[in-house]
């Protein structure tokens, strides 16, 4: 089915189920309980999970397969966002033209940047992409203000032309939608103490994420994907066999740029505004962190990494000192202060520190990211279960490299 083999199909179905049931899975704690702050099942955050998941999946097609480390991918995200917002200003608040435009324009932009940047490799490639992204950021910030709105950014206004929609009724606030359904429409389901929110915008983005995930799966398993892996493992040898690898890497670059554009367009569809800071190089660094943390070159890793980082950014960062004191109230006074004092630097506003440390640990010890970590634990557990079957186990691990 869907031209996937059995193992991939299983993974795809698991991912699909997880995204469909996310409002339940991410809201495991009842309202009002002390742990309710760990609930991530609110629309804004869920949308971010899938949108940045798309972004990271796209980045992974470039970095995970070809090994080219781009430090400027946020530029494509930003370009996609600007394209989408202009579609909303000029044509319609319907998200379809916005999404199509964001993907197409980001793709064209990636083609230009990629064509130039891919003339070099290694660290030079990283610096070139970084330079392009920083240039885009600086220009969006200053020179291109008529197009980008400069520092304040853009949002749809009531009196924009909107040819297809006709202008809005006076006083109506523009909001993005899809044939009458608005992105912020939500259905709330109360079950006992639990409150689950089903948001239309989330499911729209999630559907696109599944499409993106499926496409990346097909790319990974295709001859084209094999060629990209060849670039990563030994580009020189590939060249010696008489192949020109440039079209392949360029195609990978453009595809990943289009993914970034799609993510940018979706960001606008969910929250109709955009500013140049979206293209700043820290944003590019973030997608690198997501992909590596989750597991570069694996299918599911980038999505996990994106979810992990966004969860930390939104949930862990909200834990403050008084909440910690509530948790550890049962400890003797001096010890309580000590424990809180020891944990506090790593959470709340210091969550970046935890992120940095985790990232370093992953790069040093787990080049395959969280996915490899999970596999190692799984293997360890299984290995303990049946040590006798050592040969068979070895065979199966050899045939499943971190994927």
């Amino acid at each position: 089915m869907l031209k996937l083999d059995k193992k991939d199909m299983r993974l795809f179905i698991i991912v699909a189920l997880m995204t469909i049931l996310a409002p339940f899975i991410l809201n495991p704690f009842p309202e009002g309980s002390g742990l309710a702050q760990f609930n991530a099942g609110y629309p804004d955050l869920m949308q971010r999970f899938v949108i940045f998941g798309i972004f990271a999946i796209g980045f992974n097609i470039l970095f995970g397969l070809t090994g080219y480390l781009s430090f400027g991918h946020a530029a494509f995200l930003g370009v996609g966002s600007y394209a989408a917002i202009w579609m909303m200003k000029l044509l319609t608040m319907n998200v379809i033209p916005a999404i199509i435009a964001s993907v197409a324009i980001a793709g064209v932009f990636a083609l230009v940047v990629g064509f130039i940047s891919l003339r070099r490799s290694g660290i030079y490639f990283s610096i070139l992409t970084l330079a392009f992204a920083q240039m885009s950021f600086a220009m969006a910030y200053s020179v291109l203000t008529p197009i980008t709105g400069g520092e304040t950014g853009l949002q749809p206004k009531v009196n924009d032309p909107r040819i297809l929609d006709a202008a809005l009724a006076p006083g109506a606030t523009p909001s993005a939608g899809l044939f009458g359904l608005e992105m912020r429409d939500s259905y709330e389901l109360a079950l006992g103490n639990w409150l689950f929110t089903f948001n239309f915008g989330y499911y729209f983005a999630a559907a696109l994420m599944l499409v993106a995930f499926y496409t990346s799966m097909r790319i990974f398993r295709s001859p084209f994907g094999m060629m990209l892996r060849g670039v990563k493992s030994n580009q020189q040898r590939l060249n010696y066999t008489g192949l020109n690898s440039k079209p392949y890497t360029l195609a990978a670059f453009v595809i990943s740029g289009m993914y970034a554009g799609l993510a940018g367009g979706l960001l606008v569809a969910m929250d109709t505004q955009v500013g140049p800071e979206r293209m700043f190089w820290t944003a590019s660094g973030e997608v690198v962190l997501m992909t590596i943390l989750g597991g570069a070159g694996t299918l599911i890793g980038p999505v996990l990494g994106a979810g992990f980082i966004k969860y930390m950014e939104n949930i862990i960062s909200k834990i403050n000192e008084s909440i910690l004191h509530q948790w550890f109230y049962w400890l003797p006074d001096g010890l309580e202060d000590l424990v809180v004092g020891m944990i506090y630097p790593f959470i709340g506003k210091g969550w970046h520190l935890t992120l940095g440390i985790m990232f370093m640990l992953v790069v040093i010890f787990l080049p395959g990211g969280l996915v490899e970590g999970g596999q190692r634990i799984g293997r360890w557990v299984r290995g303990k279960g049946r040590k006798a079957d050592a040969t068979g186990d070895k065979k199966s691990t050899a045939s499943t490299p971190a994927e």
């Binding site: 090994g67 660290i123 920083q134 220009m139 690198v288 970046h352 940095g356």
Partner: protein, 343 residues
């Protein structure tokens, strides 16, 4: 003419900072073959050495002065720095005022220690790993260092004034025979430029005229052969890493009065310094220094209003534009050595 001289001068102080950081980056790259994304963080640590020394010197004890009253009529609390109690107000005042130059002495051992720990504790294990891994792990380290500083010093910039002897401006125009007031240049920037020149000259002299430097240069050219000659080149390279960290730190110390240090200042400089290194040519020390000054001056030229009228916004992108052009037309950089990182 005077406008041109003014722009050159304006470019020099930023160029000095670029050159110092790029020099350290190139040293590390040339010796250990490691791409150090945490170098900006070392610059930032240096700046915070200045902040720390200033804070240490102004550590105060509080005495209650019965003779003075505050506006509520309570006895006034007077903060006296400890050193004022020990050495008297005259000496203490001078020492506190000169805390930034003094911080150089304070920063050297700290930065060397940081460099040694970093190299032995982390970088050592990344010699054999691909450059992408080196970039990633040092990028992570930079985040960690910067968050640690943020935890202790907060997110806001901390003003760290230069000694008042250097606080004014210098009328360059009068000296060169232009109308007075046309070329005004702050003293401290002049000091910074001079300091950078001395440090750069020192590093070059060290590499050029000492036996140690000669061995290091030999090791940069052919590490294996030097190792076969029975010289412990790894140890020397570790020391060079510490030296590079020290150079970045000193650049940071002296930069503190120009721009109040904040925790992310290193990252802002790092991105540009990398561009500088690439433009100068990977592995070429002279290239890094020349490109640093060149790009600093170019940047300040691009921000002249005459230029901005023709090409709006060029000041924001000039460095990146130059980098792209250089990389595409002269992939080895301006002065890159043959065979260094050529892929």
């Amino acid at each position: 003419m005077d406008a041109i001289i003014l722009q050159i001068l304006n470019g020099l102080d930023k160029g000095s900072a670029y050159a110092l950081i790029a020099l350290g980056l190139t040293l590390i790259f040339g010796t250990l073959g490691v791409v150090n994304f945490a170098h900006g963080a070392l610059f930032m640590l240096g700046a915070f050495c200045a902040v720390t020394l200033n804070k240490l010197l102004t550590l105060s004890f509080i005495t209650i002065d019965e003779t003075q009253k505050d506006f509520l009529g309570n006895p006034l609390k007077v903060e006296t720095p400890y050193i004022e109690g020990w050495f008297g107000p005259e000496v203490a005042g001078t020492v506190i005022e000169w805390s930034v130059p003094l911080a150089i002495l304070f920063a050297i051992p700290i930065m060397i220690l940081v460099g040694l720990v970093m190299e032995r504790g982390l970088i050592k294990y990344f010699y054999k790993r691909p450059h992408a891994d080196q970039i990633l792990v040092t990028f992570g380290l930079a985040i960690v260092l910067q968050e640690i500083i943020k935890y202790f010093y907060g997110a806001n910039p901390i003003p760290t004034p230069a000694p008042s002897a250097f606080s004014g401006s210098f009328d360059f125009g009068a000296l060169l025979g232009f109308d007075p007031g046309t070329i005004i240049y702050p003293y401290w920037r002049l000091v910074y430029f001079g300091f950078a020149a001395v440090v750069i000259a020192g590093v070059f002299a060290f590499l050029r005229y000492t036996t140690f430097g000669m061995v290091v240069r030999a090791g940069m050219a052919d590490r294996e052969t030097v190792g076969l000659l029975g010289i412990n080149i790894d140890k020397r390279f570790t020391i060079m890493f510490a030296l590079a960290a020290c150079v970045a730190g000193l650049a940071g110390v002296m930069y503190a009065p120009i721009n109040s240090p904040n925790y992310h200042m290193g990252m802002d400089f790092l991105v540009l310094s990398f561009v500088v290194v690439v433009v100068g040519g990977m592995g070429s020390l002279g290239g890094a220094v020349a490109a640093g000054f060149l790009l600093g001056v170019l940047e300040s030229f691009a921000s002249m209003s005459q230029v901005l009228n023709v090409l709006p916004g060029i000041n924001q992108i000039i460095i990146y534009l130059v980098a792209i052009i250089v990389l595409l037309t002269r992939p080895r950089g301006l002065m890159g050595r043959k065979g260094v990182m050529e892929d």
